[in-house]
């Protein structure tokens, strides 16, 4: 078979060493009824044939400029991100259980933890989680553990898929979840009962709108609940961070930091908390320490929280993180720096604002999101958004994601720093045709 080094002579010699003649004998002790099941699979291919086949499969997707969002957008990825993340030392390692041979991954995680803590203005971040949605679920479970309560309230401004994942996780442990409807495009002030352990708001929210959630933090804390904030990490280069607005826990989707869209994954989720919640964190944490000769080094720390030690009493069943995706974010943030990241964030928001103005010129199109917003916004279209999305795709653009939960004709759009004025104008022209035709 390809990629195994064994020559036939070696296979025979190794079998002979075991007193065997044929590979089949390695399975002789399995129940005979189980052996050699009928399995239909295509014939093997060589690498060239495989890539030609996959190029043909990929061609069945319709290419186009992407003006879609939902926390995943078409941002530029600096070339050094691919270079570093593709290095075999990083790509083909596993969990850094042997720190002496894993200082590369461990130090990169330590740097990542620092960067996420800085972006969110909270004290400590873990090594990453699977995605934004599962990070939210873990963040709420953490808040419920910390408050010893079994009820959460979530704004409908939170990404609908994140809410669905949250509902799945909370249902499993028997906790209640209450959704708070939006007023227009933003979360209204609401009362927090004293049996609520977690209050969840997203800013910029799913409709792109920047929420003023400091009063909600006060209401949550007055009721003894924790505030969990979902935040786009790119927005935190310019927007007031969760840690400065009363958030106890911040979570989010990491894709905008150096990860390709890739149909929604693999990406990573981040989670950061106030110092006092450190021991409630799920997943991996890396600490700085010293070796026997006083040299600085890094190790996995506080693993008594984790499944391989605690088993049924672990904080979560999570085993890995999303290390290679989080490494991409680390390199991305290092390559751009604070000014570069701010430049990307501002250019993104400026492009989104310009696109908003252009699209509102189309007849019958009304705003759903009101400024200020960040990279994404929602409009009400005069015709079925699914049809508009389909017409745009035929014209070579992906935009107008239907969001019927937010009303008839509601559709979501996004821009990024990659879009030039000409790109925006061209998309707007295609949009005028799609909504007018």
């Amino acid at each position: 078979m390809p990629y195994a080094p064994h020559t036939e002579a070696e296979v025979r010699a190794m079998l002979a060493d075991l007193g065997l003649e044929r590979l089949e004998e390695l399975y002789a002790h399995l129940p005979a009824d189980l052996l050699d099941p009928p399995i239909e699979l295509p014939e093997p291919m060589n690498e060239d044939a495989l890539l030609r086949h996959l190029a043909e499969v990929a061609a069945r997707n319709r290419p186009g400029r992407v003006f879609l969002g939902g926390g995943v957008r078409d941002h530029f990825v600096p070339a050094i991100v691919d270079t570093v993340a593709g290095r075999g030392e990083f790509l083909t390692a596993y969990t850094p259980y042997q720190p002496e041979a894993s200082q590369g991954v461990l130090q990169a995680i330590f740097e990542y933890q620092t960067m996420i803590a800085e972006l969110t203005a909270l004290d400590v971040a873990n090594a990453s989680l699977y995605d934004g949605a599962s990070a939210l679920a873990e963040g709420v479970l953490l808040a419920l553990r910390a408050t010893r309560r079994m009820r959460a309230m979530v704004s409908r401004g939170v990404h609908p898929e994140y809410r669905q994942v949250l509902a799945t996780y909370l249902n499993a442990v028997g906790a209640d979840l209450e959704e708070v409807p939006l007023e227009g495009d933003r979360t209204p002030a609401f009362a927090v009962a004293d049996d609520v352990g977690a209050v969840v708001v997203q800013s910029p929210n799913f409709l792109g709108a920047i929420e003023a959630y400091a009063p909600l933090a006060e209401a949550a804390h007055a009721a003894g609940a924790l505030l969990v904030v979902v935040a786009d990490p790119l927005s935190l280069a310019v927007l007031r961070p969760p840690g400065e607005q009363g958030a106890d826990v911040a979570v989010g989707e990491g894709q905008p930091l150096g990860n390709p869209m890739s149909l929604g994954g693999p990406h990573f989720g981040y989670i950061a908390v106030r110092e006092g919640l450190l021991r409630q964190l799920p997943g991996r944490l890396v600490s700085m320490t010293e070796d026997a000769e006083g040299r600085r080094g890094f190790v996995l720390a506080l693993s008594a929280r984790e499944q391989h030690i605690r088993r049924a009493k672990a904080r979560s069943n999570i085993t890995t993180n999303a290390q290679n995706a989080a490494l991409r974010a680390t390199v991305h943030l290092a390559a751009l720096g604070p000014e570069g990241l701010k430049g990307v964030a501002l250019a993104t928001a400026a492009a989104a604002r310009r696109l908003y103005q252009l699209l509102l010129e189309a007849g019958g199109v009304r705003p759903l999101t009101r400024p200020p917003f960040f990279a994404e916004f929602a409009l009400r279209l005069p015709k079925d958004p699914a049809e508009v999305r389909s017409l745009l795709a035929e014209a070579g653009y992906h935009g107008a994601y239907p969001i019927p939960e937010y009303g008839e004709g509601a559709a979501l759009f996004a821009a990024s720093e990659r879009m030039t004025e000409d790109d925006l104008l061209a998309f707007a022209r295609a949009f005028f045709v799609a909504v007018g035709g």
């Binding site: 390809p2 390695l26 399975y27 990929a58 270079t83 799945t168 869209m261």
Partner: protein
Amino acid sequence: MGFCFSDRVPLIFERSRPGRRGTPAPARAADPAELFGEANLRERPPALPEVDELTALRHYTNLSRRQVGVDTTFYPLGSCTMKYNPRVLEAAARLFADLHPYQDEASLQGALFLMHELGEYLKALTGMDAITLQPAAGAHGELTGMLVVRAYHADRGELEQRRVVLVPDSAHGSNPATSAMAGFEVREVPSDADGEVDLEALKRELGDHVAAIMLTNPNTLGLFERRILSLTEAAHAAGVQLYYDGANLNAIMGWARPGDMGFDVVHLNLHKTFATPHGGGGPGAGPVAVKAHLAPYLPVPLVEKTPAGYRLDFQRPKSIGRVRSFFGNFGVLVKAYAYIRLLGREGLKRAAALSVLNARYLKELLKRRGYRVPYDGPTMHEFVAQPPEGLRALDVAKALLDEGFHPPTIYFPLIVKEAMMIEPTETEAKETLEAFAEALGRIARRGQEDPDWLHGAPYTTPVRRLDEVRANRRPVLRWRPD
């Protein structure tokens, strides 16, 4: 071991110089206050490093030189299947990197085809009827599978009474953690003298209070549960669902199927069995396949093939809901699809057999060098050894680093003292196995003569043994400017 070029790599933050710029950022004139309003602006910028691009690249390149992976080093980590990740898989994934999950279905026909086909292949390899590709990792797949089991019992009105999940004492730690997260109580079942599940003890635990049994087969001792058909039959007679942890599927891929053994739900680790890179700890993927009676409970959406093309089915009223946003780790799915197409059925079967051959061969080499194998049955893709009397697994592992090898999994499974769980995989050459055995032989000999030397290992790595007590008592989890 050849990677000690630099004694110390500063933190990227320590390389920062105010005003230095990295990768050029886009220029679009924008006034933050006008865009967002003064009240929404960040007052202090995040303390991200200010470095030029070469400094960033050199920093992370040098960090990588303080890291070993399959690409640099034999990495026989038990239950992790650290096989070679063919680099063409990376090229395959890049062909699909620019797709957005909210595109029109008609514009995603290639991606949906690929997911559907991969699902068909994985169903064929496991002998199951339906599949979700959404879970992002093995443990995430476990949670998904157990939530499906929970929904099944709830639908039949039996969840109130079926509160218990049985897990063997040799199980992965994620199994009991998952059961707890899915709202179940966990009870451990002992292993018998041969290292297989004690079938009689298990039968005594069965009843209408039990929701499921979670098993790995071959188990974490590398042993195939030979009485598996009796076990699943007894469990089914008591209304209990059988969960297959796919961590060790590499041993039997193409030779035997969990579905035929009687399992109702299976998760797979694409980053183990199907050669997608482990990434330093993810991202992987953990698809979950089930028998027909559990299909209604799988997460939404599922990919469906229709005469008009591929579509996403969201209308599944009994579904447990979502476990992840979008469609899971699609890029990882592309790599697994590519791996299966490269090898085909016979290639996958041979890969499995060679993984067993390598492990059996290595086991014999170690036994001849004084290492003990407490459950020395017909082990498959991995085995659990113990160092010669008086030596500790931790010390042996550290000494292996000086010999240029990544150590095996140690102190797992919990039922073996000083356990060294060794899984060489099929992509390692005979001479690598022999060199590894020689190294372990040298370590055993010198360690017995000179215990202090062994306790002090490793000597040649970028850092030596680290103070983990200090890291746990006074954790330093981030850099702070001072």
